[in-house]
Amino acid sequence: MAQIDIQNVQKFFGQHQVLKDLNLTIEDGEFVVMLGQSGGGKTTALRAIAGLETVTSGKILINGEEVQNRKAADRDIAFVFQSFSLYPHMTVRENIAFPLRAVRMNAADRDRAVKAVAETLQIAQHLDRKPSALSGGDMQRVAIGRALVRRPQALLMDEPLGVLDAKLREQMRAEIKRLHIARGSTSVYVTHDQIEAMSLADRIVILHDGVLQQVGAPDQVYLQPTNLFVAKFVGSPVMNVSDVRIDGNNVRLNGAEAGFRFPDETLSTVRHAEAGLTLGVRPEAVLLAHHQGEGYVPVVTTNIEPLGSHDIVDVQLGGTVLRSRTASGFVSGEGQQVWVRLDPAQAHFFDKATGLNMRGAN
């Protein structure tokens, strides 16, 4: 097991810069999830750590040793590919044993290791089948088994559950977590699914356009996003975002007549950027009431998504649709008059020019 240190890594494909000055330390035994949109450079970063891709400049250290010029085979890192990349002409047993045979481990130890891994992953009954005869979930188990069988320095996974259906993803997610806890292997996991990221990660790394946006524990990334991109990318439904004007303690949304009263301590850190501010509030911080109350603004509901455990209610305020998370059945239908208030403690103000969170949470 190992610590991985990425220092000032840049990666160009021709003129196109895919990784922009990446710095990241992954601690021994940590489970780090790289999260980001398609084309953000997640796969490239992971492949660079594994040695499948060279870096243009910068250093990659494993346990303090520089490895950026070493071949993948000399870095002793396991990789689970999105497409599984099982060897189609070999049985499951041969696939899992491949990394051991490649380094000439003796047959007895090899069989023992393969059996142990197969049992952990519950694929012992498929050992003599070909990959083509397996279901997607079992193929993924084999791919993970092949990666784990030799106790690598670190385990890298590139959207390993990407091609599985929703139910299986959830199940495999739990299994990956269980495996990680059992083995304590340093793991880097790439996904664009934030729920996967939240549920698996010790720390989440958010990459966008090759730039590292934020590194932090899941709740930290959710509660204290460093910038507007992270705020909008993490969380479902998406955070409500609107340009605002602040007059005194009154925060007015773009195009709205009425404003919300925010306490001084909330606004003190944001006042100096009055040039242009964007307010962000998550749906659970948009509070609805059936009656007029202190600090509430009257609105009309425009849409309701009943999700069983809760509802998502849209209300129109000025030029902005605010989405609120309410108890299920709280609002009975569209076109109803309700009152809305924002929770100042959960409100974020972003500088319109830079996108940075003005409350300096991070």
Binding site: L52, A72, F79, F81, S85, Y87, R101
Partner: protein, 301 residues
């Protein structure tokens, strides 16, 4: 499946307007082909089968006498015929092995990003497109002990490539390899480029050496298409005639096809040579069958 396609005749089409049914159209296409096959392939095949049981000679007007299996018995107990077979076997082995080694090697070299890859591939394919007889003639010049360019470049003075009884068969095989290695290369290249790149990445991650990757991943995945190339080349090499006939007339290079030609058209033993042709046919079918069985086994893996 096929009948489904045929019943889907567009009702507005001209064929429909003329009242042609699907069946009529199908027959219109198939009958000429069948007729052609019967007249030019099946009929001569059966006719020669009949001849193989007679002492017929096409050069005389004497009637053919039925001799039963006598021709087959004579042929199979003739030591000279067996020597023809063993020469052929040796030739097939050398030639096909050479083609596979050279062809697959070239394919391995070409299966990467190299400049002018398309041009190089095209140039390498040229020998395959030439006529056998022409190739034979100009290699005869290349091999010439007096002014041949090969001896000049190899510094071999007056080495007799084709007149030397031990060397001649190899010399012919070399020409065959030169001509047909590109064919093996072409098929191998198709096979190699069909191996997904990510499998090589997986192997690298799994710390497999280059050699280990080649034998455990590349070769097994290319094997089926390589087998097909080998089947084709074995069949062709087995019935080689023109190259050997043009290049050399040594007894040590008398392949079965040449023996057969002499028997049929120089000695005019028509009945006997028909029997001979049938023996060769059965052998080719048997060898091909062995290959195909093996191919299926490789594919099942």
């Amino acid at each position: 499946m096929a009948s489904q396609v045929m019943t889907n005749l567009d009702p507005k089409s001209r064929a429909a307007a003329k009242g042609l049914s699907d069946l009529t159209i199908r027959n219109l296409f198939i009958i000429p082909t069948i007729a052609f096959l019967i007249i030019f392939n099946i009929f001569p095949l059966l006719y020669s089968l009949a001849y193989s049981f007679t002492d017929f000679r096409a050069s005389t007007r004497a009637p053919a006498n039925f001799v039963g299996l006598q021709n087959y018995r004579d042929l199979l107990s003739d030591p000279f015929i067996w020597s023809n077979f063993s020469i052929t076997a040796k030739y097939v082995l050398i030639s096909v092995t050479g083609q596979v080694l050279v062809g697959f090697g070239l394919a391995m070299l070409l299966n990467r990003a190299i400049p002018a890859k398309g041009l190089i591939t095209t140039l390498l394919l040229l020998p395959m497109m030439l006529s056998m007889a022409v190739v034979g003639l100009f290699w005869k010049l290349l091999y010439d002990p007096n002014f041949g360019i090969i001896n000049y470049f190899l510094g071999l003075e007056k080495f007799e490539w084709l007149a030397d009884p031990d060397m001649a068969l190899y010399a012919i095989a070399i020409v065959d390899i030169w001509m047909w290695a590109p064919f093996v290369m072409l098929l191998s290249l198709a096979g190699l480029s069909a191996v997904p790149k990510h499998l090589y990445e997986a192997a690298e991650i799994d710390r497999a050496s280059g050699l280990y990757t080649f034998f455990r991943i590349t070769l097994p995945l290319v094997a089926p298409i390589l087998m097909i190339a080998i089947i084709f080349r074995t069949m062709e090499a087995f019935k080689t005639f023109d190259l050997a006939y043009v290049l050399s007339s040594q007894p040590t290079t008398e392949l079965i096809a040449i023996r057969l030609y002499k028997m049929a058209f120089q000695e005019w033993q028509t009945g006997m040579s028909s029997a001979f042709a049938y023996i060769v046919l059965i052998m080719v079918v048997a060898i091909t069958n062995i290959y195909v069985k093996y191919l299926n086994k490789v594919k099942a893996r």
